[in-house]
């Protein structure tokens, strides 16, 4: 080829193709050189690319290709051998590297492809996890809502609040358009619309309970989607819009009786309410599973809350009832107390008021009998007397009985003669028995003590009553009264052993048996005998009180009374056992009656003691004088205050002033006596005699300088002890 100096060889027309080749090669080389640069740049950027070695190889390959094409530029014109060599070298190298790269790519490309697959797989996995996370989050949120709802529902025990709260909270949580509760009516045949969310006061729609849709809901404990057109779901006024989806769930209404110990409430006995929930219309919302679950859970909670509320309601009702009863009882008690008080007051007054006229009638009738009367008049007066005696006895009985029942009656204990008691009774009854031609005997055991301590008057009353009854109801035959000391065995028959005190030196048990051959008593009537106002036969026991009172007296005497009979017509036996005291050796001080001729008690201790006595009541004066004389005093008795002051002299040691005198101010007398004796030595001791027990009198006595106060009536012993103390100490204190 010709070597030319021309820089630019001439371009022949056939050389256009060569020109294009030239430009292409240039650009190829450019590209080939820039690609590795780009690769290097971007690989440097990313830290992750694992195949660096491959890159290097690839880079080399590309570089060499580029070099080849670059060198190719020089071959278009005539070129030296060097260029040719370089070209050849470059091509050889390129070939080598390309083959190597090709071989390597066989290994690498599957790897690269699998990376892609893994990437896809991971992306899917991530999406799945995301979904699950979303689900969990919604569940957790549901749980939170349920808890909050439950809390709201359970925070109240009022039924209405529970139900209203449920609806409100559900509406809020789920974003409902309408939420309603249908309750079963009393008959159980219909459901009535009781609560709704939007309307404050729902009108009482009812639907029959046997609708298929309702049955469907009631048969499962899940929330059921129902058609918006069913009667229970027609809660909103129908409009142009599409109603949202509706769900219904049953709410069990539990009763107390449903909770057995071992088994849960059975389905068959249950009543249900229906809760209907409506999603907002015209929204594309659907009921999600978690929302349905929420509704089911809430329904259950509501059931529990309602049952609690029901229990509370019942217990409140019971409590109110109890309170009412309490108030009523209290009222009744107070009324009873008032009644008892009124009765006692009445009795207290009547006691006195009734006895006085009775005694007047009896006294005056007996007086009348003593006067001159015609036989008819006498008969009339005797009848009056007998009736009034009867009435008096009755009044006494009634009054006694009331006092007995109050427990205010006390026995009047004294020493008395048993023999006399029985003798008196015998003497009183004998005439009547004789008239009826009954044989009447009295036998007293020799063991009986002569004297006993007890309430003679009432024992006699009991005896008279029992014997009197025996005589009254015996038409023929005999009455026998026997008295002896009761043995321990016979006592045990009647009472619990621990209630009997062993007869000892202090007391004994007197047993009286009154046998008669009279009408006898029907065994059925025996328990009623001692009950007051009960009469077994019209003729028996005129007042109905006699035996009742006897029983109470006997009880007071720690005894026992009973009547035995084998039947009608077979007679009866009355047994009375009472506890009496045995008087000690010295009988004297206990005797209320003096059976022996009174004799000198003690040697007068105050022989010759000169005293002055002032009392304007002649009888009282005489009595007190006799008392003092009996004690051995030398008594000067006066009847007026002036006389008293006049006669008193220094010889008199004691002055007795009667303080109850109306005309004379005895206190004034005392003062005057004090004035008379200026010197303390000569002054006599002044004693007041008074019937007043009040403190005023005592105060006044003390104030005027009296040395003692004696309460009338004064007994011998009292006077004696008062005088001794007075003379010993210069004063004495009346302990009564």
């Amino acid at each position: 080829m010709e070597l030319c100096n021309c820089i630019e060889p001439p371009w022949p027309a056939g050389e256009l193709l060569m020109k294009y080749q030239y430009i292409s090669d240039f650009f190829i080389a450019l590209a080939y050189f820039s690609i590795p640069l780009e690769l290097i740049y971007f690989v440097k950027k990313s830290a992750v690319f694992p195949y660096r070695w491959v890159l290097v190889q690839f880079g080399a390959f590309i570089v060499l290709c580029g070099a080849t094409h670059l060198i190719n530029l020089w071959t278009f014109t005539l070129h030296t051998k060097t260029v040719a060599v370089v070209m050849t070298t470059a091509k050889v190298l390129t070939a080598a590297v390309s083959c190597a790269t090709a071989l390597m790519l066989v290994h690498i490309i599957p790897d690269l492809l699998s990376v892609k697959t893994r990437e896809l797989f991971l992306k899917n996995k991530a999406a799945e996890l995301d979904r699950e996370m979303g689900l969990i989050r919604t569940q957790e949120e549901t749980g939170r809502h349920v808890r909050m709802l439950t809390h709201e529902i359970r925070s109240t025990l009022d039924r209405h609040t529970i139900l209203k709260t449920t609806l409100v909270e559900l509406g809020r949580t789920l974003g409902l358009e309408e939420c309603a509760l249908w309750m079963p009516t009393r008959t159980g045949l219909e459901l009535q619309l009781s609560y709704t969310l939007r309307h404050q006061n729902p009108v009482g729609f009812t639907v029959p309970i046997q609708l298929p849709v309702i049955n469907q809901v009631f048969n499962t404990n899940r929330a059921v989607k129902i058609s918006p057109n069913s009667p229970v779901a027609r809660l909103r006024p129908t409009g142009m819009y599409m109603p949202g989806e509706v769900v219904a769930v049953r709410v069990p209404l539990l009763h107390l009786s449903n909770f057995q110990i071992h088994d849960w409430p059975e389905l068959s006995t249950r009543r249900y309410a229906l809760m209907v929930l409506m999603l907002p219309s015209d929204s594309a919302r659907q009921w999600h599973v978690h929302e349905l679950e929420l509704v089911e859970v809430v329904a259950d909670q509501v059931a529990v809350a309602l049952s609690h509320a029901a229990i509370l309601e019942e217990s409140m009702k019971a409590r109110d009832l109890l309170m009412e009863q309490n108030v009523a009882l209290d009222h009744a008690r107070r009324e009873a107390e008032t009644a008892v008080r009124a009765r006692n007051d009445f009795l207290a007054v009547m006691n006195h008021e009734m006895r006085t006229p009775m005694h007047a009638i009896i006294a005056l009738s007996s007086l009348l009998l003593e006067t001159e009367l015609t036989p008819e008049q006498r008969l009339m007066v005797e009848t009056v007397l007998k009736s009034s005696n009867l009435l008096s006895t009755l009044i006494n009985d009634v009054l006694d009985l009331s006092r007995l029942e109050d427990g205010s009656l006390k026995l009047e204990i004294g020493t008395f003669s048993l023999h006399t008691l029985f003798r008196e009774t015998y003497n009183l009854i004998k005439p009547i028995a004789s008239v009826k031609k009954l044989n009447f005997t009295l036998s007293l055991s020799s063991e009986l003590p002569e004297f006993a301590i007890g309430d003679e008057k009432r024992l006699m009353q009991v005896l008279l009553n029992v014997v009197g009854n025996a005589v009254k109801f015996t038409k023929e035959g005999s009455i026998s009264v026997s008295a002896f000391v009761a043995k321990l065995d016979s006592l045990r028959e009647f009472r619990a052993p621990d209630l009997i005190s062993i007869p000892s030196d202090n007391h004994f048990y007197l047993r009286i048996e009154v046998k008669d051959t009279g009408l006898g008593i029907n065994p059925q009537d025996l328990p009623k005998l001692f009950m007051k106002f009960v009469q077994s036969q019209p003729t028996k026991n005129s007042s109905g009180l006699g035996l009742a009172i006897c029983k109470r007296f006997v009880n007071l005497m720690e005894g026992h009374i009973c009547i035995e009979s084998e039947g009608l017509g077979k007679g009866s036996t009355a047994i009375v056992i009472v506890k009496l005291g045995i008087p000690g050796r010295s009988n004297e001080s206990k005797l209320s009656f003096v059976h022996k001729v009174p004799r000198n008690q003690v040697k007068p201790a105050f022989s010759g003691l000169k005293v002055v006595l002032m009392d304007d009541n002649s009888v009282g004066r005489m009595v007190t004088k006799g008392l003092l004389v009996h004690l051995g005093c030398d008594v000067l008795a006066v009847g007026s205050g002036d006389e008293c002051v006049r006669v008193i002299n220094h010889e008199h040691k004691v002055v007795f002033l009667d303080v109850s005198m109306p005309d004379v101010n005895s206190f004034e007398v005392a003062v005057r006596i004090h004035e008379k004796f200026s010197k303390r030595m000569d002054r006599p001791l002044i004693v007041a005699l008074t019937g007043n027990t009040d403190r005023m009198t005592k105060e006044n006595c003390r104030r005027v300088g009296m040395n003692g106060v004696l309460l009338k009536p004064v007994s011998v012993d009292k006077m004696r002890s008062a005088l001794s103390e007075l003379l010993e100490k210069g004063f004495f204190v009346e302990s009564k």
Partner: protein, 144 residues
């Protein structure tokens, strides 16, 4: 001795009187006071009592019959009677006095005459019983 006989029979009847409520414990105190130096004590006291009471009751009746009744005087009379009867132990009479003293406070003339007649009745009853004891109170014959 006749006195002892009399006393014994009197004592027997005194038992009855106690039981009937005519006399109370004070009377037994009186009985204790009778001794050798003063054997007729009880008799004397009882006679004086009846004499006194009779007079009192007569006065009382007279006062009540007047136009303007002097209640103070009546009160005094009743007080006296009450005192005497309680000194002697005439329980019924004393109770009657206490009872119809209320009428005096109320200035109830009817009540007072009623009360006084009852007291009179009791007194009479007492006397009768004692008379039945054997004429121990000879003075009574004047007032029967």
């Amino acid at each position: 001795m006749e006195v002892n006989q009399m006393q014994r029979s009197f004592l027997e009847y005194a038992n009855v009187l106690f039981r009937e409520g005519f006399l109370d414990g004070q009377f037994s105190q009186l009985q204790m006071l009778a001794d050798e130096s003063n054997p007729d004590f009880v008799v004397e006291v009882v006679s004086l009592f009846f004499e006194d009471s009779q007079k009192l009751l007569n006065d009382l009746t007279t006062t009540l019959d007047q136009q303007n009744v002097d209640f103070k005087k009546i009160d005094a009379h009743i007080h006296q009677l009450k005192g005497s009867s309680s000194s002697i132990g005439a329980q019924r009479v004393k109770n009657a006095c206490i009872a119809f003293r209320n009428f005096c406070d109320q200035q109830n003339v009817e009540g007072l005459s009623f009360g006084s007649s009852i007291t009179f009745a009791f007194l009479f009853q007492l006397e009768q019983q004692i008379v039945a004891a054997g004429g121990a109170i000879p003075i009574l014959s004047e007032f029967s």
